[in-house]
Amino acid sequence: MTRALISQGPVPGKGPVAYLDMSTELGDLVLSGPVLTASGCAAAGRELDQFFDITKIGGIVTKSVMLQPRSGRPTPRMAETPSGMLNSIGLQGPGIDRFIESDLEWLNERGATTIVSIAGTTVDEYGKLASKLRPTPGVAGIEVNISCPNVENRGQVFACDPTTASNVVQLVRRNSDPRMPIFAKLSPDVTDIVSIAEAVVKAGATGVSVINTLLGMVINPDTMRPHLAGITGGLSGPAIRPVAVRCVWQIRQAFPDLPIIGMGGIRSGTDALEFILAGANAVSVGTIVFHDPSSPMRIHEELQRALVERGFGSMAEAISYAHRPADAPPIESEGEDEYDFITE
């Protein structure tokens, strides 16, 4: 495997750490690193840029934008749960026009790699959103959020049905530049996530983003009523990580070459590594941003360290490594003198 040594800067921590090629490919989209922000957990990057340089991670996946401005749901919109949280925001946002004028404009000026997440209430709306983005510069990819659980009608979770999921992706593909990388964001709340992945791939998705939140609920023991104004909400955070890793694993088993963005409860570099070993080409960091606003950068650095410690020559070598046969030889040991070591 080739090993391009690209400069990502020194990794803080103890002892010398090698420069490691952290780049990754999602179809034709090449990212400098595998760590992205998760949609809905980073707004449009501006706030997090106060805490770390957002151009130094793989990219920003923006909060799902809809065709029209959207107020979202009433409050309370959030409940803390064991190692996670439940949210019922309801996609509050400025609408696609203002998003393009202000948020995307800022991200482009800032030099960030931007994957725009879109959400519609009808198949047609997804198509219109894709058309709006088509002439817009600075869109590295589109994540099609067909799995937000906080819509008025649960029947509208497109990702719960292979046909509707496929209809949405097909239209987004048709209305986008043929080379535009398109990722369908899938829901874990299905019997067979592989069949949904298959449907969206056939419909023209470049890859998949797995997973969105799981539908959950909290009853307030004091009021003895549902805690969230929206009654149900999406469960996220470290609590759902094993579910997410399982979904990535299953999809990778079925599609050896499909670009997969893995997400769900990543809070450390070794958590990110788990997803990559399971088959993710890139990872998104979500809920833990609320706990630690610097976490995407920290996780990038921790992941780099974890990969070096395990003897990988590049990040890409680790992708799907957990799928190797039981009798596979250990990682080919590459002499330490091949690395460009830096010492703090």
């Binding site: 106060q50 949210n87 609320f290 630690d292």
Partner: protein, 284 residues
């Protein structure tokens, strides 16, 4: 601009029903203004409590050797605040701040009334200090359900021209709510501005009174937040802009201090009809 730092616990002490936590906070304490808040990480890096807790900055000190320290007042309400109340000297706490928009201070020497409900009095200390430095008269009203839940009575007494206390059970001061004594006081001192921090219903009443008495009001809200930095959209409330349009604004970045006459207090917790992006009857 907010920063994220590891703060060291210098001291934690009881104050009635509350705990006052003193932390080193280099880069935060030195730029904090009255009404700013911080969020604290709970339970360490492997914590099962993933959401930060937000606290108004109570006091800041510039202690050269520590590069600035700050105090927050903690009311134990659940496991997160309980964990904080159990911190001891030299423990490390992850701090993000200063966050939010602080209180706006008057340019002229006007009479100001400060209203604190429960530990909502915490951010009023720095505010009272700075108002007095500007030559403003400061009168303070504090209220709580019971004496134990008042915070900082003695210190506020020193900072204020007058201090009026109300408790619902009559254990200290006058029996009743702050809003029962407020109109009389505002008229007596001819107050131009009312600053308030406390529970939502109190803020709603204070804001309404201020409007009736033609005073300007600045209300610091306490909304449930997940991130505190403007990305999660959980802490929103309906606020009317200068253009007359209602929007769901974030308490963390567009507040926590709002003009009292701009917040649709009775609609907090809902999406009032006409709000930007509100669901339209018959549509989706």
């Amino acid at each position: 601009m907010p920063v994220q730092v590891k703060g060291e616990v210098l001291d934690i002490r009881r104050a009635g029903a509350y705990h006052v936590l003193s932390l080193t906070a280099p880069g935060i304490a030195d730029i904090a203004r009255p009404g700013h808040f911080v969020t604290l990480g709970i339970g360490g890096e492997e914590s099962s409590m993933v959401l930060r807790r937000a606290f108004a900055i109570h006091q800041v000190q510039s202690r050269g050797v520590y590069g600035g320290t700050l105090d927050v007042v903690i009311g134990v309400k659940g496991n997160g605040t309980k964990w904080l109340s159990e911190r001891r000297r030299h423990d490390v706490v992850d701090i993000v701040g200063p966050l939010g928009r602080p209180f706006i201070l008057p340019k002229e020497r006007v009479n100001c009334v400060l209203v604190g409900g429960g530990y909502g009095s915490a951010p009023l200390f720095m505010l009272a200090d700075q108002l007095r430095e500007r030559g403003c008269r400061v009168d303070v009203v504090m209220g709580a359900s019971t004496e134990e839940k008042l915070f900082g009575v003695l210190d506020l007494k020193r900072l204020a021209s007058t201090l009026t206390i109300t408790t619902e059970d009559g254990s200290l001061g006058e029996r009743g709510m702050v809003t029962e004594v407020l109109p009389e006081l505002m008229k007596r001192v001819d107050s131009a501005v009312v600053y308030a921090c406390g529970p939502m219903p109190m803020l709603a009443s204070v804001a309404q009174l201020a409007t009736e008495l033609r005073a300007y009001s600045q209300c610091a809200v306490e909304e449930a937040m997940a991130c505190g930095i403007g990305v999660c959209m959980t802490c929103v409330l309906p606020v009317v802009g200068e253009d007359g349009v209602t929007r769901m604004l974030r308490s963390c970045t567009e507040g926590p201090v709002f003009r009292g006459d701009r917040v649709l207090w009775s609609a907090v917790g809902s999406i009032p009809p006409g709000t930007v992006g509100a669901p339209v009857e018959g549509a989706h």
